[in-house]
Point group: C2
Chain length 325, copies 2
Amino acid sequence: MGSVNVALLGFGTVGSGVYELIEREQKRLSESLSGSINIVAVLVKDDSIKRNVPNDVLVTSNIDDILAQPVDVVVDAIVGVEPAFTYLCKAIDQGCHIITANKEMFAYKGFELKEKAKEHRVAVHYEATVAGGVPVIRTISQLISVNKVVHVEAILNGTSNYILSEMRNKQIDLNTALQGAQQLGYAEADPTNDIEGFDAFYKAVILAELVTEERVNFNRVFRHGITALKQEDVVNQSLKGHRAKHIVTLTIEQGEVNVTVEPRWVTTEHPLYDVEGVNNGVLITSQYNGQLKLEGPGAGKLPTASVVVEDLVHIFRHEPKIVVN
Amino acid sequence: MGSVNVALLGFGTVGSGVYELIEREQKRLSESLSGSINIVAVLVKDDSIKRNVPNDVLVTSNIDDILAQPVDVVVDAIVGVEPAFTYLCKAIDQGCHIITANKEMFAYKGFELKEKAKEHRVAVHYEATVAGGVPVIRTISQLISVNKVVHVEAILNGTSNYILSEMRNKQIDLNTALQGAQQLGYAEADPTNDIEGFDAFYKAVILAELVTEERVNFNRVFRHGITALKQEDVVNQSLKGHRAKHIVTLTIEQGEVNVTVEPRWVTTEHPLYDVEGVNNGVLITSQYNGQLKLEGPGAGKLPTASVVVEDLVHIFRHEPKIVVN
């Protein structure tokens, strides 16, 4: 195999993490791929700022200049639906494969992107959109090649989960716990996305569309964040062995999916009871394979960058020649 | 894509499970593969017994008759190193892909089979050899394309784990718990493999060779089963919040792997504390991705058959055309 040329859209936490990981692990990656991975271009909002990349890497704010390069894969590490969606459509039209970590965009436009990619015979990978470093997309994709997935329950927002753990353990209120999360970099300056359940909602939609292979009707998704939870309830319930967890639930019956995103009280018997702090946890129940539980880091620069680069290897890995009669 | 022709070696629990699943899920599989899966031949020990398969499926005890068919993949659902290893070598020589659920064979001969398959440019998949329905092989394979795996801790023998759970919960001795496990079909008539730790040892070797990509020196693997554990210790320690778990530990330092297979006391803080009954649990710590936990059914006809058929889809799934400059 020759080399793989990558264009990176966005150079924030995830984008720069992907850049660093590819540079650091060039040797390991070359062995997996029998060829090297070259980052040929980086799209930034402001191209007047000097970035820490070699001179032969094009740094620009113009997508057309990026796509004028010989690019095999576009990695989307931007936040928000636009301009990311328009850029990815252009890239697909040009025959590029797509890897995205952009959950809001993929919740709204993932179904369309997957259809478009199928027409153009390119790959779309999106492991990093759900549960950070936990390989939930790949696990479900593999399961549904043989099984029906009938139920999913998951903690998909590490920030909310951290806040709830802190409220209980330190007996503090939501705002104090939130400030702590912000100081540690677990929460944004504007925490709405996390504490009102939008982030978990995006991930719920992405999982629901993966499991059913149909578009989800957003209006039918019940969404509540953690803001209505009172400190005294969190503390009092914990004395009875109950914990508040912000849980995404997918129930699939006769091909129809029911999605809820809401705080729930769980007992010690519940497999998500022990998923604490910024971890994410996912329970997947399928027809033949019973209940699988996956747990791990739900966010973070390196775990997220790692699954993006794993997606990259997955597309180009040297597989044995398939002989079919 | 055309159709995929499969030969099944062995028609016991796993073999017949694979057969049933492929028959039942023909429609779903055809969609995943854009083609059908046909079981063309089944190898049995005694071909005078009438099997519940259609007349156009060759049922024979002769491997050469099997391989004289137009076969694309051989599924090994036999137990033990030989004759399985010899049969699989013949199949690879003929250009067949291999899927195996045979852990003893793969522990002893997996390294050699993988090398041979590479030379012949065919695939070898073995998800079913470790942790039943829990996709640990695939998860680690994917991780190591980018990360170093530095530590693995796992409960890989459901029978031992069930016996230890029962000894603690019902305050019964090992023999009584073992009889219960045998009645439920969780343990064989000869339980040596499970309770002396051989089954977990095979799986530990398979994981160690996957993680290091080197042959494991069997003499350096420390193996103890659960038979030395006393009922009173299991009960008394549980009062202090400690549980006995039979744990496989891989520690990888500077490319060298250290493997132990032994019962250990774990506290409520340990992520394997809650893996109970016949479940398996695996903790994988890697360089960039922190600690992942996978948990699920460690055995059983359908979970095991499901991952075998998932391996089959993985080999032949229609992937988009890869355009590389």
